[in-house]
Symmetry: C2
Subunit: 207 residues, 2 copies
């Protein structure tokens, strides 16, 4: 697990280092963080549309760019000191709506295979529940940043599978496999969060 | 809107009055609120299974009973003084998982009609987003009990459409129409909540 965490931090730092120079440019140009959040949402909508149109590789690229926007808006908000309560709320809400668009597109892509359409619904449900359990725990005054299937990992799996699917020898199967993985990972993360909240409330002596 | 609210309160009171006597019995028998929460979740799973098995009327009854459990567990927790942080968290989380089961079953029921399968995903997404925006707002220290497409109304529409669909002259079309309504109502409620949070943060002077 520690090796995994080290590896995760290394990949994360690499990604953040790649996002940092454009962030400086955007900050210098006076672009507000909310505009970057909105751009990420539009890219997620585009990704959903591309999946629905049967172009998973292009969709995967859009998901990657949307992830970059998601990382950049937070950095930009901190850099420009414009982080606010509504900005944070809108950012989270648009991230979730972006996920809905992506999985709606994937469902349309796999609509002729009902089991995979069901997996798309479950993968979206898992993703939303990971976010929901954290928000609900924070609403009850508990922190909840746990679980190994968090958003960057899940998006990375989706991007990799979408791009790999473009190789003729690989095909759509890898995207289907990634969706099954995402559905499982999301729900397992959620269960980890439930267990975490249970532990925390026991420690506090409240029931 | 006021007439609607009066009507809503009347229906709600009627429902709560129907749930109250069994609640007293459960409290007297020493049944813990978490057991009622769990029963509601199991009923939602059953509802999902029944929709998937092509028995929407039976599924509608299960949704109705799950709703009764959902109302009863809160009443029971207050009556027995056993309301706790983890209980509240588990209750919310299982309610959401129950919704996932119901819409997964509906997707399977409509899997041969891709546009309706997509509507199932969007209706679930709307339902989860209504809960998410409230939890996220509360996590940021804001109340968020607004929006006209809240859970009791949405569940009532689903129950009514599921039962009406059993009438031979009506058929499945009404369930499909209800799903479209639910998808719209969920997303509109969510937008109302976003607007509410925006207003509240503007009033507070924070951005």
């Amino acid at each position: 697990m520690t090796a995994y965490r080290r590896w995760r931090r290394r990949v994360e730092n690499l990604f953040l280092a790649a996002v940092d120079p454009p962030c400086r440019l955007l900050a210098a140009a006076g672009v507000p963080p909310d505009a970057v959040t909105a751009a990420g949402f539009v890219l997620s909508l585009a990704a959903g549309g591309l999946y629905a149109a049967g172009r998973p590789a292009a969709a995967g690229l859009a998901v990657l760019l949307a992830g970059a926007c998601d990382a950049a808006d937070g950095m930009l908000a901190r850099r420009t000191g414009r982080a606010g309560v509504f900005g944070a709320f809108l950012d989270s809400t648009l991230d979730r709506l972006g996920e809905i668009a992506i999985f709606a597109g994937l469902l349309w892509h796999f609509a002729d295979r009902p089991p995979l359409a069901l997996v798309c619904l479950l993968a979206l449900a898992g993703a939303l529940m990971v976010s929901y359990t954290r928000a609900r725990a924070e609403g009850l005054g508990l922190d909840c940043r746990v679980g190994w299937g968090q958003r960057p990992e899940r998006m990375a799996v989706l991007v990799a599978a979408s791009l790999a699917g473009a190789l003729p020898v690989v095909g759509d199967g890898i995207l289907a496999a990634a969706l099954v993985f995402l559905a499982l990972a999301g729900h397992i993360s959620m269960l980890q969060r439930v267990a975490h909240v249970r532990r925390r409330t026991r420690e506090d002596g409240s029931k």
